[in-house]
Symmetry: C2
DNA sequence: CTGAAAGCGCTTACAG
DNA sequence: CTGAAAGCGCTTACAG
């Protein structure tokens, strides 16, 4: 036996009729701060309850010109760091009744065509991470007054705000740390050659090493596990393989550890030290014990939301740039220098 | 210098004026299959282009009563399996121009209050994974004709479709596999005591073991890394610790391996075999080499979408239940029986 | 405090 | 093929 065609959902008018008031009264009853007599409000709420009324948010946003949804453009969800970003962003947004509309973009550094239509959804803001926005999109957003912020990506495009970790400092500190640990040959596995944030880590690392009198061998892993493995393979298989490796993300560092262990049979950290970037939860697991420079996803997201709210309040403002503090978390994947270690309980950090 | 207040986005009327046609003509020009003269359509497209017009999807969905967005309620995003589900779902949906509205729910098995408002968004469908829907929500959906499907969860609630892996078969096969491997004491780490899908794996496992004459020690890890570690600790620290462990998810198996290695110094698989469920990409990494029963996220998602499309076409249909095939992938985390192994290149599976 | 009315930006019969 | 008009379900001045 077939069910009849689905009933259409109850509307304000339906509630109004049942409660014996006008449709606008119903609207007011659901608008915080609107003027309704307590008695009528009760009557209305009761009627609404009875009908199972739920406001139609599409209609509301058409009328108010704001949707309470923010677009999140993201790729590399397989990297736990980005999974964390999604989770944190979603959680914080829900505190203010907002939700994420997800644009999972292709994993390369290309601008995603699907993203170009994002403004059609009347989103209140756009956050990008592990992807890029086109100049055109940035312009449209500016015109439409929609704030757009990138997390963990640099952007030369004006009008785009950015939140990032301490990329330069990470590179420099890791260099000092590895030198202090007595290493002699250094490798770096970056994201892509032109990825801004990877590049800054690389420059900090290589320049600092140079000041110590060392060269840096460089390879790129495209932020994927497979390509990072390829990069590690080429570095470790070279004529003069590094005895210390700094990777632009923990996820790529995991790949490097895999290759070092499985294919080269190297003992970590005796024969090879590996340092990552991000401090994802997995870095602390026994499988990796990864020494890494932290980039707390929660703090990044919190900053991003602050920026969004700021720009929404004052649409005229220029793009913001924020940096979130990180530190070098010392675990077992890299040789530990004699000095500079700080302890707090089980947690060890290093500073120069 | 402050920018002026943001211009409002161009509408069909704006385009119409510029193109010298009526607003409804513009609408038709953007509606596939609507009747417009080729000449006028060109004129309109040109005008739209010039203004940077993008249709307002909120207005459209108000008029058409469909939004092209599907709600995804999910928790445990830190588990790579669920991250994969998000990615797959997003990718498939985009092929038909749909997007995900994300509801990241709290990690416990509670019904999420935020989810109760999901129908306000006029979503075309709801998919749930690693969370539950309330009976009330299911009822509302049925009334509103919104299909609702759960991935990798059982549900006693009528009207909710489900897509799952071969839970029972996994349990039984793993039992046979471990017995064939010569193990004598067996442990199971489940999600929660009442999680349907974990329970079915457990029952298949324990009942099969019983038929072989073995008992099963059971503990629960709540699908989190930390709690799974606690569960592993209690099992491995018991008076007669298991020499084989089956975990209801790879992610919990990783935790068990961590504890076994770091806290008990056990050699895997010589002193302890560990088998997981899901076959997430990490399972193949050198850090784990996890033997596991596969539950392909891509296939699950594909089925879920088929169901959604089916139910959308024929709203009267009753809830669907689908099962997606998996197999026992043999790697290094469990002792390998003499017989039953099948090879295909580097890939090894086991069957009875 | 309350209702009637206009408007948000679309789609879709309905005439012509 | 095209335009005028009603309607989708809300919000929000505006009178009263």
């Amino acid at each position: 036996m077939r069910k009849g065609s689905p009933h259409r959902a109850p509307t304000e008018s339906d509630v109004a009729k049942l409660a014996g008031v006008s449709q606008s009264a119903v609207s007011r009853a659901f608008t915080p701060g609107a003027s309704v007599a307590e008695a009528t409000r009760e009557k209305i709420l009761k009627a609404a309850q009875e009908l199972g009324y739920q406001p139609n948010l599409m209609a509301r946003s058409l009328a108010t010109r704001q949707s309470n949804i923010v677009a999140l453009a993201i790729s590399h969800l397989e990297n736990p760091f980005y999974a964390q970003v999604v989770r944190e962003l979603s959680d914080r947004l829900r505190e203010t009744g907002r939700h994420i509309l997800l644009f999972s973009t292709p994993p390369d550094e290309q601008v995603d065509p699907a993203l170009e239509g994002v403004l059609s959804y009347q989103v209140d803001a756009i956050v990008l991470t592990a992807t890029m926005a086109s100049l055109e999109l940035a312009l449209q957003c500016q015109k439409a007054g929609v704030p757009i912020v990138q997390i963990n990506r640099e952007s030369k495009i004006p009008g785009i705000s950015t939140v990032r970790g301490q990329n330069r400092r990470a590179g420099e500190l890791v260099a000092d740390f590895l030198v202090a640990g007595g290493h002699k040959r250094f490798g770096f596995i970056g994201g892509t050659e032109h990825s801004g944030t990877s590049r800054i880590r690389q420059d900090g690392f290589a320049e600092k090493l140079k000041s110590h009198g060392f060269e840096t061998q460089i390879a790129y892993g495209d932020y994927t596990f497979e390509d990072a493995a390829v990069a590690a393979r080429s570095l470790l298989g070279s004529a003069s393989p590094p005895d210390a490796l700094f990777c632009a993300s923990d996820y790529m560092a995991f790949a490097a550890l895999d290759v070092a262990k499985r294919e080269f049979g190297l003992k970590v950290p005796d024969q090879l030290s590996v340092v990552g970037f991000d401090d994802v939860p997995e870095a602390a697991h026994a499988a990796y014990e990864l020494t890494t420079f932290s980039q707390p996803a929660g703090a990044l997201v919190a900053e991003a939301i602050k920026i969004i709210d700021l720009m929404t309040e004052e649409p005229g403002r220029r793009a913001q740039r924020r940096e979130v503090r990180g530190e070098l978390i010392v675990r077992g994947s890299a040789r530990i220098p004699e000095t500079g270690i700080k302890k707090a309980g089980l947690r060890r950090t290093w500073d120069n």
